[in-house]
């Protein structure tokens, strides 16, 4: 708590940068996980990744411009969309070919991650009230800039992975098999 009272905005930007880094890790990991299952195209997983990118945009704005209720609202909205998608996928009957990570399917992990993101943004929106809400650009530390660039690379990789899977199409060629 003192982190936010003594230096309004600064500590919060660091915490948001850390969360943004974790989002990058999640994006790259999900892409690699899907890549390992060669030939497995999952349109709803693409939507899940899009929700993760959208949640990351709110965190990125917090790092770049300082914390704001609008940025947290963006993260919460995207995280709730991710919760809905991953809940849908997690409720589908498990197949024998499904790979498990520490006893849970990837969709169940996605559900947990989106829930944590939503809870984080809600908590921060409650604690982080001493920073003015404006869109003035601020200097970003080298670490913050590195995390933002890493996020852009992860989002580009995610988009490239989807385009490699689906090409320029509606990406529905294996939807019936997925659902």
């Amino acid at each position: 708590m003192a982190l936010f009272l003594e230096s309004p905005g600064h500590g919060s930007r660091q915490v948001n940068a850390l969360m943004l880094f974790l989002v990058c890790v999640g994006l790259v990991f999900s892409l690699a996980w899907q890549g390992m299952a060669a030939g497995y195209i999952c349109p709803l997983c693409t939507l899940q990744r899009m929700a993760l990118v959208m949640a990351g945009v709110g965190l990125l704005l917090n790092v770049r411009l300082g914390p704001s209720p609008l940025h947290y609202a963006m993260t919460i909205a995207a995280a709730l969309a991710g919760v809905a998608i991953s809940c849908w996928l997690a409720l589908l009957p498990a197949e024998a070919s499904d790979k498990l990570l520490m006893g849970l399917r990837l969709h169940s992990w996605a559900f947990v991650i989106f829930g944590v993101l939503a809870a984080f943004a809600l908590l921060m929106q409650t604690l982080d009230r001493r920073w003015g809400d404006n869109a003035i650009k601020r200097t970003t530390s080298l670490l913050g800039t590195a995390v933002m660039v890493l996020f852009l690379v992860a989002a580009l990789a995610s988009a490239a992975g989807t385009v490699m899977d689906c090409g320029v199409s509606t990406c529905l060629k294996s939807l019936a098999g997925t659902l």
Partner: protein
Amino acid sequence: MLMVFPLLTGILAVCYGILGRRPACVVFWLLTMGLCVAWAFGNLQGHPVPLAL
């Protein structure tokens, strides 16, 4: 609807976010959300949904 549109608008939202241009970033963020919802509603109809939602 093509999946590539929300991907492009999402990347643009990230780019504008890094540049610190909040209005453009928020507009593209909203556009991405809208396009994703449109894609889901347009293409997932008729497929079985758990719990008969």
